[in-house]
């Protein structure tokens, strides 16, 4: 597999340096340990939002740092959660006295490292709340697993909570809103092909001519099931049904529909899937009132998509619409 890199062990460092050069007005990048903060951090008078996770999911999370979204992001090695000291330093750098919300995707590594960081911060007298995102319905029974994975809802939670924090909501309020977004969102994804980790040079799995991984995660881990490729409409419906049934989404619900490209899937295909997804949603009597289509949470160069549905209430809709000014999401400013 060919990639545009220099030294494999410098991929994350150099990419962060590139981001720093590309967005001098929006973000600042810290090295040793790695983290990204808003150019104007710490931002007085607001709760600080911090997220992070393995690299390889760009623009998540670093691309969401900015006014109206995250205060800091902690990128780990590729597909490896960040370390506690990284999270601690990033959090301390953006803390403005109103406490810190850690938005954490539910993977053992992320959960443990953020947990350790929170303990370190709390022992320094900084108030920290943690919300664990776990919206992936592909992982069925959390009694017998590490629990559902955090996927697309994370992007939505970061935007919505960012809006609330910017508007001056308290730590309790922002944390409650984040939990509520997580509780109201469900996702599922599929991959047409593997991704290749630039740090190891290895493809994550091998698929036959006509096979896809259904219920894929975002770290190149195999999906729940290997099935034959089908039409975009059929596959979209196969993703939508378990999502709809799980919450469950009910006739008349107002939703945000998010179709996410996993990396190598062209926008042309994402739009075809979006068309199918909105069609299914409408057939189920849902009112699609907000939309997002694009590669916002990727797995490097994986071909595939994920779909996220969020049941909106008025607060969520208001903060979704609020201005945001980050490298990857921007409107109203």
């Amino acid at each position: 597999m060919k990639q545009l890199v220099n030294a494999p062990d410098q991929v994350v460092t150099e990419a962060l340096q590139g981001m720093a050069l590309a967005y001098p007005d929006l973000i600042r990048v810290h090295e040793n340990p790695h983290y990204i903060v808003r150019a104007d951090a710490p931002k007085n008078g607001k709760v600080a939002l911090v997220s992070g996770g393995g690299s390889g999911h760009e623009p998540m999370h670093g691309g969401f740092v900015g006014l109206g979204m995250l205060d800091a992001a902690c990128p780990g090695a590729v597909f490896t959660s960040p370390t506690p000291d990284q999270i601690q330093e990033a959090s301390a750098a953006v803390h403005a006295g109103k406490g810190i919300l850690h938005i954490v995707k539910n993977y053992t590594g992320d959960v443990l490292n953020f947990q350790m960081a929170a303990e370190l911060l709390q022992s320094d007298g900084i108030e920290v709340r943690t919300v664990i995102m776990d919206d992936d319905v592909a992982v069925k029974d959390s009694l017998y697993t590490a629990g559902r994975r955090g996927v697309g809802a994370t992007v939505l939670a970061e935007k919505i909570c960012g809006g609330a924090a910017e508007a001056g909501a308290s730590l309790d309020e922002v944390a409650a809103l984040c939990s509520s977004v997580n509780a109201s969102a469900r996702s599922m994804g599929l991959a047409l092909g593997p991704c290749t980790n630039p740090e190891t040079g290895q493809a994550s799995f091998t698929l036959g001519e006509n096979e896809i991984e259904f219920g894929i995660g975002i770290h190149g881990e195999p999906g729940r099931q290997r099935i034959p490729l089908q039409s975009a409409d059929t596959l979209t419906e196969m993703l939508m049904i378990p999502i709809l049934e799980d919450l469950p989404f009910k006739k008349g619900d107002e939703i945000l529909l998010f179709v996410n490209g996993l990396g190598a899937t062209p926008l042309l295909e994402q739009y075809i899937v979006y068309r199918a997804a909105e069609t299914v949603a409408k057939k189920h009597g849902l009112k699609v009132s907000r939309r997002l289509v694009g590669a916002y949470m990727t797995s490097l160069d994986m071909a595939g998509i994920s779909i996220t549905l969020l049941r909106l209430d008025e607060t969520m809709r208001q903060y979704w619409d609020a201005p945001v000014r980050s490298p990857a999401l921007r409107w109203g400013l």
């Binding site: 340990p33 393995g54 780990g76 090695a77 590729v78 597909f79 490896t80 959660s81 960040p82 370390t83 506690p84 000291d85 990284q86 993977y107 053992t108 590594g109 443990l112 490292n113 947990q115 350790m116 592909a138 992982v139 069925k140 017998y144 697993t145 590490a146 994975r149 980790n197 740090e199 190891t200 290895q202 994550s204 799995f205 995660g217 770290h219 190149g220 881990e221 195999p222 729940r224």
Partner: protein, 199 residues
């Protein structure tokens, strides 16, 4: 047997060497049922550990174990960073200010380390994690079976993960598809005990 500072140092140097040379194998195991980085994670972490050991030359077993634990936590990330980090930190607590450990002392340290891993990760034997290798090995040490036997038990524990369905970590997402693959963390844990047995 007595475990001097020097012996413990040798243990860690051996582990660093193992993880470096087995990097690709551990990544491949992890690719099969996880995200393919376990070898890279441990190689990165232990390289840092050895670098720090050389620079800081800790004066007691406890200081050494603590340095190992802190360094793993701050340089590995992922699930294995906090878990192995805690293993060494908890072991360090039990080592107290002893200048060397005897067999029973080492067993108590590693027992505490394992307990730390289980407290943090909530895994039980049979969940297809590093605990499946660590638990029988520590138990062998507790029964004065010797390092060789402990390492043997760790390898058996690793092999016993092959037919398991995982209930913790990334492999748990796979359901039945995890069957037939050894757990990468159980494999790295058994390498740790192999190094112990070489002392």
């Amino acid at each position: 047997m007595e475990y001097s500072l020097n012996a413990l140092n040798q243990w860690i140097v051996c582990a660093e060497h193992q993880f470096k040379t087995q990097l690709a194998e551990l990544n491949a195991l992890d690719a099969a049922i996880g995200d393919g980085d376990h070898g890279s994670n441990l190689a990165r972490g232990f390289a840092k550990v050895v670098e720090k050991l050389q620079a800081e030359k800790p004066a007691t077993p406890a200081a050494l174990l603590k340095l190992v634990g802190m360094t793993l936590i701050s340089s590995v990330g992922g699930a294995s960073g906090p878990l192995y980090g805690t293993f060494f930190l908890e072991a360090a607590k039990v080592a107290g200010d002893q200048l060397q450990l005897d067999d029973a002392g080492l067993a108590l340290c590693l027992q505490a380390g394992l307990a730390g891993i289980q407290r943090l990760g909530k895994a039980e034997p049979g969940d297809k994690t590093m605990v499946d290798a660590l638990s029988p090995a520590v138990s062998a040490l507790n029964h004065q079976a010797g390092l060789e036997m402990a390492a043997q038990k760790a390898r058996e524990g690793r092999d016993a993960t092959i037919p398991m369905i995982a209930h913790k970590g990334r492999a748990s997402y796979l359901g039945e598809r995890a069957i037939g693959h050894a757990d990468p963390g159980a494999t790295s844990a058994s390498l740790l005990f192999d190094c112990l047995a070489k002392l």
